[in-house]
């Protein structure tokens, strides 16, 4: 199992992408997609990545729901800043946040979440001090942003990956 | 009635996406620095991709989807290559 499918979720994902691309559920295409998945997983295995340690699917689902809601909220906030610049009472700026998480996959997920949400952008990360720097468009309260990142995302991500 | 709603909403959406492509093109020309142009190019191709999806809805053909997928992939690679060029002055080290 682990020899032929070192990353089972990734292989499954590749197969699903293949089937979506061809818009079919024909057995021949399922076989082709499965071959693609196995080859892709083995190629990735050659890169000698550290194991993901992904365990808690329920926590991951909760994180996904939270992220979707937050992105919707920040969409509205950023749209308001752009369309009604008069009502804006804060300037943009950088926020430094010290993290506790060390898992590279957790950090990658955090980077994607922060950058995908409008209004925040991952700028720099210092692995020695475990210090993250983000840019915030609507910087009213620096402490509130620190609390958002550490409490809303980091704890859940640590639960998932560590 | 539903045909009217669909026709007009697709037309309005195409208009909005076209205007946003023009905005991105304006920023692309105006600069002032290279990173602003790259960011504008990124916005440009995302909006072009969405416009192609809207064209697909108008014509009822799925060919446009494949073009949009191609734009999404090429745009990603080109933006990353340009950003890498900004960082070092070379794409491949």
């Amino acid at each position: 199992m682990t020899r032929y499918l070192p990353f089972p979720l990734l292989s499954l994902g590749l197969m699903v992408i293949w089937l979506l691309m061809n818009q079919t559920l024909a057995p021949a295409h399922i076989l082709l997609g499965a071959t693609l998945g196995v080859i892709g997983g083995r190629l990735l295995h050659k890169l000698q990545l550290p194991p993901t340690g992904f365990k808690r699917p329920v926590a991951a689902a909760r994180l996904a729901a939270r992220v979707f809601a937050d992105i919707a909220r920040s969409n509205v906030a950023v749209a308001r800043i752009i369309l009604l610049p008069k009502t804006r009472n804060a300037s943009s700026g950088f926020v430094d946040i010290s993290l506790r998480m060390r898992s590279p996959y957790g950090l990658a997920c955090l980077a994607c979440i922060i950058t995908a949400a409008p209004g925040t952008c991952w700028v720099d990360y210092d692995p020695n001090k475990n210090l993250l720097r983000i840019h915030v468009l609507d910087l009213i309260d620096e402490q509130a942003w620190k609390a958002t990142v550490t409490h809303r995302y980091e704890t859940l991500l640590m639960e998932i990956f560590e | 009635m539903s045909q009217l709603i669909l026709t007009w909403s697709v037309a309005i959406a195409q208009l909005m996406l076209g205007v946003s492509i023009c905005c991105a093109a304006l920023r692309l020309m105006r600069g002032p620095r290279a990173q602003d142009r790259i960011l504008a190019l990124d916005t440009f191709y995302v909006n072009a991709m969405l416009l192609l999806l809207a064209f697909g809805m108008q014509s009822g053909q799925t060919v446009y989807f494949e073009v949009a997928l191609g734009i999404a992939l090429l745009g990603f690679v080109s933006t990353v290559a340009l950003a890498k060029f900004l960082m070092r002055g070379e794409v491949i080290e």
């Binding site: 752009i82 369309l83 | 045909q3 946003s20 960011l39 916005t43």
Partner: protein, 121 residues
């Protein structure tokens, strides 16, 4: 050019709503690209188009083609997947490149720069 698909009224309204919300969000993002003052403020505006802007248009397309061909057409999800996965990467690489340029100054100046100062962000 008239679309002559005969869909139920509620579905057509839903499709129109998704499409218009997505297009309006993308337009807002592009306006922000023109309106915001500094580069690091502008870097936030394309995410409007790539998050729920794309989601709206893709959802409208899925609903429309599924109703039109009376089967589930979901291959537009691929576009949504690619865009949500690639945008953070592009923006992060770009942000890091800009930091690098600001830090190390004129050595890495690219063609097309009109401003020579190194401290301006």
């Amino acid at each position: 050019m008239m679309i002559d698909a005969d869909l139920p009224l509620w579905l057509a309204t839903l499709i129109a709503l998704c499409l218009l919300v997505g297009a309006a969000l993308s337009l807002t993002g592009s306006i922000g690209l023109l309106r915001l003052k500094t580069f690091f403020e502008r870097i936030h505006s394309p995410t409007l188009a790539t998050s729920y802007g794309t989601a709206g248009v893709v959802l409208a397309s899925i609903l429309y083609f599924s109703a039109l061909q009376s089967r589930l057409v979901v291959h537009e999800l691929l576009i949504g997947l690619f865009v949500t996965l690639t945008t953070p990467v592009t923006l992060m690489v770009l942000a890091r490149a800009v930091l690098h340029r600001d830090r190390y100054g004129d050595k890495t100046r690219a063609p097309g720069d009109e401003r020579r100062s190194t401290t301006k962000r």
